[in-house]
């Protein structure tokens, strides 16, 4: 038999952390601070709208780009939240989660050998998606001393003639870092000077604390060279509905839509109807969830610092990223030993890139009661292992 496999796919390494995830998922009595999704249920009025759409028999395909009313609501939302103007007819399309849009944007923009700058630690899919699109990932390592923000100098040191795209993963999973308007200014300048494009993954844009999210697309001349990716998973606690969207200049969106049309057809219809209600009537829910996350964030940071962890204060997403360097264990060893000894699961920083070594991602998408319980175990653990 001939080799049935594509060499390109085989070359992509399965996430090194897969093994650890598998062990955790089989340990039924373990508790976890390891998830990357909200603990809240989708607000009932949104679920109810989904149920109603099913009762009405709205079970057909929608147009490729998505329901007209959903695209219009997205356009209104982008305007009211981020002062970004997109034409719902041609500059917005609805995807199967933000993930599909990441893949679509890269495939629509990359030719073989084009380089894509990816700041790490970051979400796991950018690097493999670049490879799938025949691009070359170029990693920039975000530094703890910069609060894991991206700095212009870091870009200077990796940019080449082949660099085409900069991925902007902020607010950041796993570090919780955000980029303020001031932080973004020098990045936008750099992008313009080097004639780059930006894929800005803003899936956590509703989860910033004490300051509003700013999109790099809102800077002068950036709109036509930025694809903004957002979705409903984190802001409305709708991960399982699989619904995201991309906004950008028609030139690029047209091509992304072509990939979507042939690979996906359209995003799930039920989810789209529910999402219309989320955007029309969900602002209060988002605010309440944000407030709850903020309380947990403060609680968790204080508890970790009281235990002696070195932990920078993150202002976005729902993660903290404490350093464990003092324990002389690798992130993966620490996580594995913590799981074995205390049955507490956290995610080693290395799951999000090599430069995550020496850190853990701890999620606060948990109730205060759950956090307390888990922190108790963490405390026992570090008391035993502290040198």
């Amino acid at each position: 038999m001939r080799n049935p496999l594509s060499e390109k796919i085989v070359q992509i390494q399965p996430s090194g952390i897969r093994k650890f995830f598998d062990i955790v998922s089989e340990m039924k009595d373990a508790i976890s601070l390891g998830v990357g999704e909200p603990d809240f249920d989708t607000p009932w009025h949104i679920r109810e709208e989904g149920i109603y759409s099913l009762e009405k028999g709205r079970t057909f395909y929608t147009s490729n780009a998505g329901l007209k009313e959903l695209k219009e609501e997205i356009a209104r939302y982008m305007k009211r939240r981020f002062e970004l103007l997109y034409n719902p007819n041609g500059e917005i399309y609805v995807t199967v989660g933000g993930s599909e849009a990441i893949d679509g944007a890269l495939r629509a923009m990359l030719d073989s050998g084009d380089e894509v700058i990816i700041p790490q630690p970051c979400y796991v899919s950018y690097e493999p998606c670049v490879i799938l699109a025949d691009g070359v990932p170029v990693i920039v390592e975000l530094k703890e001393e910069n609060e894991f923000k991206l700095k212009r100098e870091q870009l200077e040191s990796v940019v080449t003639d082949k660099t085409k795209i900069l991925v902007m993963p902020f607010p950041n999973n796993p570090t919780g870092a955000i980029m303020t308007k001031e932080d973004l200014t020098e990045i936008a300048e750099f992008v313009l000077e080097h004639d780059l494009f930006v894929i800005s993954d803003e899936i956590y844009s509703e989860l910033t604390y004490g300051t509003n999210h700013v999109s790099i697309a809102s800077f002068p001349n950036m709109r036509e060279r930025t694809i903004v990716i957002n979705g409903f998973s984190k802001s409305y606690a709708m991960t399982g509905w699989r619904l995201g969207y991309a906004c950008g200049p028609k030139l690029i969106i047209d091509q992304m839509l072509k990939i979507h049309q042939f690979a996906i057809m359209c995003a799930p219809t039920t989810s789209q109807y529910a999402a219309v209600d989320a955007l029309r009537n969900g602002d209060e829910d988002v605010k309440n969830m944000r407030n709850a996350y903020d309380r947990r964030r403060k609680f968790l940071i204080k508890a970790l610092r009281d235990m002696g962890f070195k932990c920078f204060e993150p202002f976005g997403a729902f993660y903290v990223f404490p350093s464990i360097k003092e324990f002389g264990m690798s992130s993966e060893d620490f996580a594995q030993t913590l799981l074995n000894e205390e049955k507490l699961a956290v995610v080693p920083g290395t799951a999000f890139g090599n430069c995550g070594e020496g850190f853990l991602r701890i999620s606060y998408a948990y109730s205060i009661e759950d956090l307390k319980n888990a922190l108790e175990r963490m405390k026992h653990f570090i008391e035993r292992h502290r040198k």
Binding site: S15, I17, F20, F21, V24, S25, M27, A30, S32, G34, V35, G36, E37, D39, D41, Y123, V124, N173, N291, R295, R296, K298, F299, K302, A303, A345, V347, A351, F352, I368, K372
Partner: protein
Amino acid sequence: MNKEVIDKGILDVIGKNSRFSSEDLAAMLGTDEKTIENEIKSMEDNKIICGYPALINWDNTDNEMVTALIEVNVTPQRDMGFNKVAERIYKFEEVESVYLMSGDFDLTVIIQGRSMKEVAMFVSEKLSTLEYVNSTATYFVMKKYKEHGIIMEKEHDDKERMLVTP
């Protein structure tokens, strides 16, 4: 951080669960215990926080307890409106809640008693005989589904969030 934000934060948290310690509240709201204690005290004094009762579903105990909702029509009194009659009603220990209503009747009175008979006796002997009370209509509660934002029944929960996800 300003007082309004802290007060609202305290109310949001203890409105759902009043068992958190001042230490926990201070950590959650990014302030110190002393501030939390002062703010709670001041909100108690101002009757913003009126008490800390636990929400009990007596149906799940061996103690019999019945709840009735009573619509009451009253004649308002000069200078005092409905307040004086309401006061004479809410001072009874059996009375859980009293609300002044818009619409066809004036007061909603919620009563808890050990039996339907006990509640009926209270209505006929105490409530309807009060001066200025013109009429009452009593409705017994058959089942409580939700109270104070809390679902009273055990929900069948087979949600399974994975333990770790990227």
